[in-house]
Amino acid sequence: MIISTFNNIGITGISVALPTQKLTVETFIPQFGEETIKKFSEITGVKSICRANSNQTAGDLGYEAAKDLINKKSIPIENIDNLIFVTGKPDYRLPATASIIHYRLGLKKECGCFDINLGCSGYINGLFTAYAILNNSDSDNVLLVTGDTSARTISPQDRSSFMLFGDCGTATFLKKNDSSVETHFTIRSDGNRFRSIIVPAGAFRNINASREEVVCSDDNIRSKYNTYMQGLEVFNFTISDVPKQMKDFLNYLNKTVDDYDCFAFHQANLFILKQLIKRMKINPEKFHVSIDRYGNISSNTIPLVLADRYGNTTGKKLKLFLSGFGIGLSWGCVDVKIDSDDINPLIFTDDYYKIDISSYFDNKEKHNG
């Protein structure tokens, strides 16, 4: 098992931004019927989600979280050395959304800045990248931003996924310090299962794919531009590979579930969470559920769980076990300590970037070719 251990680096701030628009699952009764909604809600645990308005992007939500974090923690803009943005729903195909956030925040030029394309394991991989940068460079800090609007590629007629995903953005600040407190990571990937969660068209592999909607093998209606999730394969992954990694990680660290104050896991659905709690023998009081109010929010889940549980808590030194798992397939765990004073309460926003690039396309001369 590969374990990466870092010291002299700590998380000194977390902020989370949610869209103000709240949709209850009952909103979808006219579309899917009462019985389908009841069954869906019982199994997934989702009662409501926050969904971005049509102008809001993942980059906007991440930016709002970053702005909140910079303001509340009084982080000097000119001191930020790296910006990483994790998303599966970038603002544009090009450039990286991190470049836009870099501009909007007014960060300096001497600043590393790039996107990571991941979903539900994105926070773990983003943290790992941030720790690795700080461990191996003269940089003093990293601003790690996540954002996703997963439902944007889900077919509105997909009864198993359309109500499952909410939207969110988060920001985490990591800084070098003099502390010997260790943070441990383990990451796994299985590209062999890349088809398990996929949007087949919309990038460059199937550039001329038809937009025709068809009835898929699971009886849901989608086009190739929609997210296709092999639900049963993903389910098997989450009840086998994921708890196995958690157990391997604990064994390697010579720790037990009793050594932690809270388990912040990606929240795919309530059934899977219950299975993980049972299989790991975790005290339910140490487990915080957010999926009931916010749905599956991809790479944002772990910081949201922390902000939802500890956003108004002061003076606690928290020993945390983090776990993210999803598209790729990709999964990872972190053993980390965070001060509750560094976790900000949730904020809600409708704001978006009012950018105008229409001048690029003004017709000075009509092209007749």
């Binding site: 997934t44 699971d218 639900g231 049963l232 389910f235 009840i239 059934f271």
Partner: protein
């Protein structure tokens, strides 16, 4: 209630199917209601109604109506 009747009722209620569909042809995805949500609902109901906790390997192997019966026999559920 005998165990087969209890098992059958779980399938009929969750998958919305008739008793005559409960045979060796009933497998994951063979009816539209046995999707991931249906699968998780079946596992929840089987664990609740038979008061057992299924091992990971057994859940991974639970791919049909018949395999579910074989799985339950391992937990000393008599059919």
């Amino acid at each position: 209630m005998d165990n087969l009747k209890k098992y059958n009722e779980i399938f009929m209620e969750i998958l919305k199917i008739d008793e005559n569909q409960l045979n060796e042809d009933l497998k994951i995805r063979s009816v539209s209601t046995w999707d991931s949500i249906g699968h998780m609902s079946l596992i929840t109901a089987i664990e609740d109604k038979f008061d057992i906790f299924l091992e990971t390997e057994d859940i991974l192997g639970f791919s049909s109506y018949i395999k579910g019966i074989e799985m339950l026999k391992k937990y000393e559920v008599d059919f």
